[in-house]
Symmetry: C2
Subunit: 471 residues, 2 copies
């Protein structure tokens, strides 16, 4: 498997998991089923087969920062940044250019960052099989054996078995869009249809050849980007090219047109976690068919998904309902309309609301902060600084800050002074005073910050020095 | 109407309006339909007929304090305090003793503090009619002409017309419990059934006579209380007597047994606001049959009640569902189970939770405070002090307090010092330091308080001096 690369597609915005997912915190970054986040699970899953330095992450600039906190083991060079989201064809093409440039024998396994796969060993076996057939020039797609007449997935109809080593590897007769229930039932009974998982394995050179055949403008753009690699102009050129590209999926742009496509069937306990109803599949239901998480008091509900955090959620007699509660927003929705949560997000955008953009708790490389209240000319935050971490040396033009330490010890630089602030002590940072907050201790530092000023947005910050390379 | 007294029954705990209502803030104290609170509406409604010094309020000690903030025009002497809740027979008997003691010709109109009545003029006319017939010795109950086969109310079957002045006043054939839908339909068709509104008019002396006939132990207790009136032992004697009384309603204890009962039919646009579904009757539904209040984004819901405050509530495809969102708790319930919200409250009690007891915002005579966060050894509150108001001179054994003023001006007494704290300034009150917070200004004072300490409950307070007579 020396030439096998994993390409983790992590650019998704995940609006269908609102209000748990936000623009700044999409699905791949969340603990949907408890345990690790979906992208952490994805990388852990592929790691036995692909060493960490051959795992690439395709995402945008904003998400890259968050992903780096979650999987610090992936080095910065392995991030492939989409300057603007242009769907999977462009993103995959960009990854292929990079891999092919440095290793013309490279085989890429394209994997989503935000799926759940229960059978980890079978997944690795499937990848190995797929890798073998990919070497001989096929575009291999992983087809999931359907376990129910799911209408939320596209299907792949398999043709003849093309494997000569006794594996089950089929040619592809056709890709079909999400069917209605009746059609889906027929597919499940036929036995020759598989769910289109969006996981692919192919030689980087082969997918580029197929792009050159079926998507000429994309191919030309990719060649221009390739010639900029290592020249210092790569980001600029990629930005220019991407801004003009068509937004199109790899399925539609290449897979449905190519004659080199093969499907490897697999039974992986796979779920694309496409909407809240996925919890019915990936979590354990109780005796009443409910999936209940968090601070919930339920009386007589059935077949419902109730996802709470610390706030109290009380439910009474619900049926086939999804309830998702977060600190600043609550969603209540009919289960069979869970796909339409994006309509809510669209409406929030239209209103200029903030609840689809960020959570009240925002994770930073040094820890996190939680917005407790925003009022006229003031804002209250709880700030948590990890042991040994420090914020940038910074200054604000429009606000002053009162800090009260409630646990741990703060080392504060204020102008030229440096001093410690202990629990039940406070300090004050006036406007335009250079300052830095640091946790020199062994336990988390928690401070309550009361900001005062006319303008209290995050962008009123001048950073002079930052541990984490931020500007 | 010189001898007419209004007795407002305001002891209800209102668990069926959780989470908007709490033990410390029952339904009568809430703005359910916008505008004034239900008790404010009740008092305003009866005021054209009954002067303020003849309006009595029957409630318990805790609610009395809150009611006094809401209706400061009612003097303290007009509160009749139930030492312990013993249902309506005891509460009404206690009020009757007081009124009869000071005015043997007194006629009492017993009114609930937490009902809605749309037709205010008709209500006053009905009261006048009822008062007339009550003078001649009847126990008059106000029967509401049913407009639908409601199963949530008890009914009164009317007998013969007993009025000799051309009014419609009937004898009562029987009281019937809440019927099933079929029976209720029959009642509506029959035309001789009325909803039992729980509003009564009678001479204090007459209801006491009837109590002496049908509820001997209660009568004896009331006579003992009467003999303590004006002796300084009234509170003690009332407490002793009440602790031993049976908990029984006036309907069951007297009305169903007495032969002096009459019913005055009325069409008042009355609603007892008995559960969240009452909003369907007392509020305006939109084109989709929804009643929507607050920060709500709805897509495709029908016939639902969605009650939000400032937090965002997003609803999608709901049908016949009630959603009630408050700062610290959210209820989602099937409409036809809205009566069972009390089951949720019972479960919260069982768990020792706080969300059925108090709101995050607690109203005080000097203003209010809102709990923003409670953590390990700290608590954060926003405190609002009304212009000209001041808190008690106080001290805490177990906590220190950091105060940051965010608007208005604070006058702070700390030990022997007195000083002013302006916006964007802070001060610190150490443990066991006597202190007092005052708003000397013309606009509300808002401060953010960060408490530190091992024990942070409200009962760690020693009051030395208080404007509002609290200990």
């Amino acid at each position: 498997m020396d030439n096998l690369y994993a390409v983790i597609m992590a650019g998704g915005s995940g609006t269908r998991f609102w209000p748990l997912s936000r623009e700044a915190m999409p699905k791949q970054l969340l603990r949907i089923d408890g345990g690790e986040t979906l992208i952490q699970q994805t990388i852990a899953r592929v790691s036995p087969l692909v060493p960490i330095d051959r795992i690439y992450i395709v995402t945008n600039k904003n998400h890259a920062e968050q992903i780096r906190f979650q999987v610090p083991e992936i080095r910065k060079e392995n991030y492939i940044i989409e300057p603007v989201a242009k769907n999977t064809a462009a993103a995959i093409g960009l990854a292929a250019i990079h891999i092919n440039h440095y290793n013309p024998d490279g085989v890429m396994a394209v994997l989503a960052a935000d799926h759940v796969i229960r059978h980890k060993d079978r997944f690795l076996d499937t990848l190995k099989d797929a890798c073998g057939i990919a070497r001989s020039g096929y575009l291999v797609t992983i087809g999931i054996k359907p376990t129910r007449p799911e209408t939320g997935y596209g299907y792949i109809e398999a043709g003849d078995n093309i494997a000569n080593q006794g594996f089950q590897i089929f040619s592809v007769r056709r890709f079909v869009e999400k069917p209605d229930v009746q059609t889906a039932r027929g597919y499940v009974e036929a036995g020759s249809y598989y769910w289109n998982s969006g996981m692919f394995v192919w030689r980087a050179g082969v997918i580029l050849d197929e792009i050159s055949r079926h998507m000429v403008p994309l191919y030309k753009g990719l060649k221009e980007i390739e010639s900029s690699l290592g020249q210092g102009t790569e980001d600029f050129v990629t930005g220019e090219i991407f801004s003009k590209l068509e937004s199109i999926s790899i399925d539609y742009g290449v897979m449905e047109k190519s004659d080199k496509v093969a499907v490897v069937p697999a039974d992986l306990g796979w779920n694309d976690v496409g909407s809240w109803t996925a919890l019915d599949e990936i979590s354990n239901r109780d005796a009443n068919g409910n999936v209940i998480t968090g601070n919930v008091v339920d009386v007589d509900s059935k077949d419902s998904i109730i996802y709470a955090t610390n706030r109290l959620v009380a439910t009474l007699g619900l049926k086939d309902t999804v309830v998702v509660d977060t600190e600043d927003a609550t969603l209540i929705c009919r289960k069979d309309m869970a796909q339409d949560v994006k309509k809510i997000v669209m409406e929030l955008k239209r209103r200029g609301a903030e609840e689809h953009v960020t959570h009240r708790t925002v994770v930073r490389p040094w820890g996190s902060y939680t917005l407790l209240e925003k009022g006229e000319r003031y804002k209250i935050k709880r700030i948590m600084v990890n042991p040994g971490a420090r914020l940038s040396l910074q200054m604000h033009h429009h606000r002053s800050e009162h800090w009260v330490v409630v646990s741990g010890t703060a080392r504060v630089r204020r102008g030229e002074e440096v001093f410690f602030v202990n629990p039940n002590e406070s300090t004050y940072i006036s406007m335009e005073m250079k300052h830095r907050l640091e946790n020199p201790g062994k336990i988390p530092l928690q401070i309550i910050e009361v900001q005062n000023g006319e303008y209290l947005e995050e962008d009123d910050i001048i950073r002079f020095d930052d541990e984490y390379g931020r500007e």
